[in-house]
Subunit: 244 residues, 2 copies
């Protein structure tokens, strides 16, 4: 199997830049230290220092902050091809925690290896910064969602975003995608109660738009859901290579 086929990150970055052999080789080296992590045990704790970054190759991870009163706000989910903790590498302590939702496989990336890769291939650095920019654009969308969208539109937007992200790495489509999230993950992401999450999902199902059941999201009326969420995927910026 080629590295390209093994690495969702390479697939994702290829959306932004047509990678050369040399750049692919540097990326392959970043994937050297492969590790597995079990579901439910934090990989990185909020406040931890000296942490590493990871490239997620299979499974889902959630990043979250715990408030002093014990409530949890999920900031984002990482899916195959995403970096974990890329940002935290540069801050002295991690500003949030990462927890695998299922058993995952990820490559550990040392800060020095990353900076060396950046120095060797500025185009690759630009591509990785593009991915980081896109991650931040998602956090901004989540902020707008919690601040300004009603519960139905918020849920619809979230499921559409996940679908687009997964499609980029070949594990989702406009038909739907496999999804290991529970109603508690959805609640802590969208700022809703678990009961409210259930009600919203029932409404979306009964409106013939989308069903989330038994670990699978099925889009019944993709266009209708886009309209409800006023989903404009421009912020995901995944419509083909920018740098040739």
């Amino acid at each position: 199997m080629t590295v390209e086929a093994q690495s969702p990150l390479i697939r994702k970055l290829s959306t932004f830049v047509a990678l050369s052999e040399a750049e692919l080789a540097v990326l392959a080296r970043l994937h050297r230290r492969r590790r597995t992590f079990v579901a439910g045990r934090d990989m990185v704790h909020q406040g931890q220092s000296g942490q590493l970054a990871y490239i997620l190759s299979s499974g889902w991870v959630c990043s979250y902050k715990i408030q002093p009163d014990g409530t949890r706000q999920i900031v984002d989910f990482q899916v195959p091809g995403d970096f974990l903790g890329l940002r935290s590498v540069l801050l002295r302590t991690s500003d949030h925690s990462f927890e695998p939702i299922v058993d995952i496989e990820a490559a550990e990336v040392l800060t020095d290896d990353l900076l060396e890769a950046f120095a060797q291939t500025p185009r690759l650095a630009t591509a990785i910064l593009w991915a980081a920019s896109r991650d931040e654009a998602m956090v901004v969308e989540h902020l707008v969602g919690i601040g300004r969208r009603d519960a139905d539109a918020r849920m619809a937007h979230f499921l559409l975003e996940l679908g687009s992200r997964l499609a980029l790495v070949g594990i989702g489509s406009k038909e739907g995608f496999d999804c290991p999230l529970t109603q508690y993950h959805l609640a802590d992401t969208l700022g809703l109660s678990a009961v409210h999450v259930n009600r919203v999902l029932r409404q979306l199902r009964e409106s013939g738009l989308v069903t989330f059941r038994d670990g699978h999201v099925t889009f019944h009326d993709y266009g209708g859901l886009v309209e409800l969420a006023e989903f404009d995927s421009a912020y995901l910026d995944q419509s083909g290579p920018l740098l040739k």
Copy 2:
């Protein structure tokens, strides 16, 4: 006047890295194209492509997204020393808008100049990425604030964050800071109505914690406000140079 004295960005980056003469010279070149912008007119529109980045040297800017229904969510404010649109340079279209709150002065930075500066001085690149990481950590905190903090704690946290950021560039302290924001800015930032903002500010004032009046924020009881907001400034990561 030296460049250091003129540039809040240099002052801010010096928190992270002790800059060499060569690095200071590269930074000074990034400040070449100085421009002024008037209050209230967007510098960058949401959806605009081919946009530039800016280094803000004086004044305040707000970055926001307008929802299709016309409501506005303010994502963050930029104060002297901050980059504007650093992220958008790498995305094909800007995912949000930037509007000066007062007349401002900013240096226009071309993408090519930025990438060239990165290639010349990897340490400077790391310092700028640190600043970008810190900006993202703030957006995450705002997400947590809207999702999980009550209105009083949300306001207190926001004012404390602003105070810390401004102190870093020498225009704020634990006594207070000048602040050009209106109640509408606060409302669109915190996901509250303007009426609610007024009520919250009155409560904080009557509790003897903080007063925001006539363009100035005065901290009466900094420790008490930190306690109310459960403010832990670690995410701002501004406690002295990391790279020597």
